[in-house]
Symmetry: C2
Subunit: 305 residues, 2 copies
Amino acid sequence: MTSEVVDKYPSRGNASVRLIPRVDPVVYAPPPVSLLQYITAEQVAQYERDGFLVLPEVFSAEEVASFQEELDLLRNDATLRSSDGVITEPGSGDVRSVFSVHTISPLFQRLAADARLAEVARGLLDDEVYIHQSRLNYKPGFRGKEFYWHSDFETWHVEDGMPSMRALSMSITLTENNPYNGALMLMPGSHKSYAVCSGETPDEHYKASLKKQDYGVPEDELLTELQARHGLVGAIAKPGSVIIFDCNVMHGSNSNITPDPRSNVFFVYNAISNRVVEPFCHKPARPEFLGSRKHIERLVPETVE
Amino acid sequence: MTSEVVDKYPSRGNASVRLIPRVDPVVYAPPPVSLLQYITAEQVAQYERDGFLVLPEVFSAEEVASFQEELDLLRNDATLRSSDGVITEPGSGDVRSVFSVHTISPLFQRLAADARLAEVARGLLDDEVYIHQSRLNYKPGFRGKEFYWHSDFETWHVEDGMPSMRALSMSITLTENNPYNGALMLMPGSHKSYAVCSGETPDEHYKASLKKQDYGVPEDELLTELQARHGLVGAIAKPGSVIIFDCNVMHGSNSNITPDPRSNVFFVYNAISNRVVEPFCHKPARPEFLGSRKHIERLVPETVE
C-alpha cells in the first residue's frame, strides 16, 4: 500500500510538528480570458495572497431558494439519513452534513459544473477539474457545533493521497453568514505554510473525525504563530455568495447559539493532474463520499447514482 | 421555606412558557448629578432602551495589567482550585471562572467599590447597592466553550430569591472582545420581556448548571421571537471597557476556537431594597459564592476573608 509518489508534505507519524513552506503554486497560471469573465485580475491576486476570496451574491435569490429547498429535502430524507454520507450532530442527532450531493442530486450536479464555479476553478488551477468531495453543511441555530481549525489539504494528503496543493473549495452560502452564526474564519496568508500535525492516523479515523477531529489537528503553538503572522478574518457574506478557498488555508468556525442556521453547499475542485494516489498514511483510503477515487475523469457524472 | 414576597415572575414548575412583560423599571430615577459625572443622559437613555451599554476604555492599560496579573494569580492558585467557587472547563480542566473575587482579593474588593462602577450602579438603580455575585471569567483560546442564552434574573429570581429586576451586571474586559473570540451577544430591548422557562429545578442544580445549564434555559421559540423583535449585537470592546447590562437582558456567547483568550471580571450590583428572600423555587438557596446572603448591607467588606 505504499505510494510511488514522493511525499512532499509529510505529517503525523514521525514528522516533527512545525510549519514548513508550501512548495506548490497557489494560482497555477496567469489568469486566462475564461477566468476573467468571472473574476478580475485583482481578485486573482487577492486569492493568491490571502488564500481565499469572497464573491458576493453570485447566485440569485431564486437560485438560492431552489438550493435551500433541495437542501431541506435531502436533510429530511429518511432513506439518506441512514447512509454513511449523512452526518448528524453529536447530542441532538440533527443532520449536520450530507456528502456527495453532486452524485445524489441532479440540481447540485448541475451546480458543480456551473461555469460561475467550475470555470473559476479551472482558471486558478490551470487544469481540468473534478469534484474530490461535495457536501451540504447545515449548522443549525441554537446548537450548531464548532469546526476546529484545520487545513483541508493535510487530511486530503495524508488520508486520501492527494499529492499536491492543486485543489480549492467553493462554499456557496445559502443563508447569511455573519460573525455570530458560526461564519467561516480564515487566516489570510496561512495557505503558504503547511502545519505538520502530530499523532498516528487511527484505522477508520474518518468515522470519528466527521463528528470530532482528534488527528490532523494543528498544535496550539502553530496556530498561535499563524495568527500572529496573519491574523484572522471572518467570511461574512449574504446568501448566494461564493467563498473560494485554497486547500491549505487554515480555517475553522465557532459554535452557533443564535437562532439563525448557517448552511452552505460545498464543492472541492481538484486538478485532474493532481488526482489522488494511495494515502500517504499507508492506511486504506477513506470512502468514496469523502474523497472520490471513481469519478476523477469527469466533472459531471452523466447519470445520478 | 415559602417566600412571603409575591412572585412577580413565576418560572419553571407549572408556569407556562411564554414572554411576559417586565413590570419593573429599568432606570429607577432621572439621572442624578453623581451619575452624570460618569455617563451622559444619552447613555442612560440608551441603557434604558437596549438593556445594556458599553463604556469604552474606562480603565487604563496599567489598571488592566494589574487586574490581569491578579486574575492569573487566582486562576493558578492551587489552594483555590479545589474550592467550590472555582469552575473548570468540561474536558480540559482549565479554570473557567473564579467566583466571589471581591471577597478573596483586596484588589477586586477595591474595584467593586470603585466609583466608576458603583456610582453608576447606584445612579441607575436609585439605591445603595451590594454585590450579589462576582466572578472572573476566563474563556481560554482554542477550547473556550459557549455560554448558552439566558436571562440572569430568571435564575437569580427562581434559585436565589431576588424579588425584582433592580440589579445589573458590570463586566470589565481584560482582553479585547471581538466578534470571533466569544464576545458577549445581547438582544437589545429583550430586557423588557421575561422569558418564562420550563422544567422543575432539580436539587443542587447549581453544581451541574455551572458547567452546562439545563434549566432556566429559554425555549427555542421564545429566543426566535426575541431575536425577530430585537435582533442581536455583540459587545465588542477593547481591554478596560465596561459592559453594563440589565439583569434581565437576554445574552449568551459562542465558543472560542481562536488563539485569543477572552477574560473579564464581573460584578452584579443589586439594590439594597431588592435584597434576596427565600428562593421562589422553594429549594434551599444556592451557596454564598453564587448569590450573597451574608454581605448584603455593605458594598465592600472591611476585611478580606
